[in-house]
């Protein structure tokens, strides 16, 4: 398996700052906006965004939640890999809020579809937007597009994009290529 680094820690930091500036431009002081990270891997990025937003707006009360979509997936009983349910933690009412769904990699769009379904069970938000750190733009299987994109990448389906969250310095995004399939 070949692997190459797509983004290093410094680049991820710059992108995160830029995305937060974009969010602030549209959502102001975040009084009516909540950030929701998608389990399992989107929550690391989402928490980071939440932290930066809190620093920038000096508002420590920005609402944050983790959303698990395991029970809403469309590949249940279809022989795919098994997804273990993770923690779901939304302790506020999403009714009439602006929700920013945050994931690390947007690929087929199916997780986001499941997330929209899951969100529906918590109420009717005023608006839902999607932020992704990496957009694998040519691999979509559903008509779902992000509103905020960190980095666009053109990949083939035998490649994998992996975001490695370590401490601040060690964050990396890899592209893994599986030769056996090429």
């Amino acid at each position: 398996m070949n692997r190459r680094i797509l983004l290093n820690a410094k680049q991820i930091e710059v992108i995160s700052q830029r995305l937060c500036c974009q969010l602030m431009e549209l959502h102001g002081n975040f009084k009516n906006t909540a950030i929701i990270g998608l389990q399992p891997r989107g929550v690391f990025f989402a928490r980071r965004i939440h932290r930066i937003i809190a620093e920038m707006t000096r508002n420590t009360q920005v609402k944050y939640g983790d959303l698990d979509t395991t029970f809403y997936r469309d590949d249940f009983r279809r022989g795919n890999e098994i997804h273990e349910p993770k923690l779901l933690n939304i302790d506020f009412n999403i009714e009439d809020l602006n929700i920013i769904l945050v994931d690390d990699v947007l690929y087929t769009g199916r997780s986001v579809r499941a997330a929209l379904d899951a969100l529906n069970d918590f109420g009717r938000p005023a608006k839902v937007e999607l932020m992704t750190l990496i957009d694998r733009r040519f691999n979509r299987e559903l008509p779902i597009q992000p509103d905020y994109v960190g980095f666009e990448v053109d990949t083939r389906s035998n490649e994998k994009v992996k975001v490695e969250w370590n401490d601040e310095e060690g964050n990396k995004i890899w592209i893994l290529e599986n030769n056996s399939l090429t």
């Binding site: 395991t70 029970f71 069970d121 918590f122």
Partner: protein, 305 residues
Amino acid sequence: MSQLSQPHLLGIKNITTSDIRKIFETADNFKQVINRPIKKVPSLRDITIANLFFENSTRTRISFELAEKRLSADVLNFSASNSSVSKGETLIDTVNNILAMKVDIVVMRHQAPGACVFLSKHIEAQIVNAGDGTHEHPTQALLDAYSIRERLGDVEGKKVVIVGDIMHSRVALSNIYCLKKLGAEVMVCGPSTLIPKFIESLGVKIETNLRKALEWCDVANMLRIQLERQDIKYFPSLREYTMMYGLNLKMLENLNKEIVIMHPGPINRGVEITSDIADSEHSIILDQVENGVAVRMAVLYLLAS
């Protein structure tokens, strides 16, 4: 087919400890789901489940039905009393006729011990045992252990006494298997006529004095006397049973520690347990019922996946 080591849930005896832990972890997630304003997820929306109850049931049946509905499955209810069973149809014929209507999972309660094992050898669908005679009642044991874990943090190392009609109780047998697999110490307590001879081979302690058993334990699971299964007299009278093995508040107050009281239901108030205990903060009887739905959702979800 199934995320558990077995395609069916026939009893606790043949599932593994890691199966039990996986069920508990999944049940944690479902407990969160059933406490939300919208208590439903779409996981089993393309699955049909038949609830076949050849024996009376209130809690288990409602609990299974709710669990199925909260997973968005299609549910089919069947009870023997108003069916063709009374016209002489055999078990396999009845079930096969139901399966011909494309049913994926069968939840069955039957008065004959081993009925679910028998059925699993002859039909295609996955089977969940909801109690087979005096044999096993696996989901009850799972929810009992889950409730202990919830109240005391862990099951491992805890001392649990099961009091009452051990001989005729499927809850007792399944509980013993489940608690032993999770590392608890188990004692059974009751009149010696109602304690089966083989029970010691399962690695449980035997005690015929309720006070001593209570002093030993962290958790007491009080069982009902199953008069409907007793074909001969095992003790002189219910009144005498209550005097020897009925739990009352005075006994608990005389202990120098807090213990948790459980009961799988239905309760015969004033026989095995008095009302002041059943309704007290010592008792987790209603938590057991709530956890029953979450645990059954977890079992069905893991079996179906």
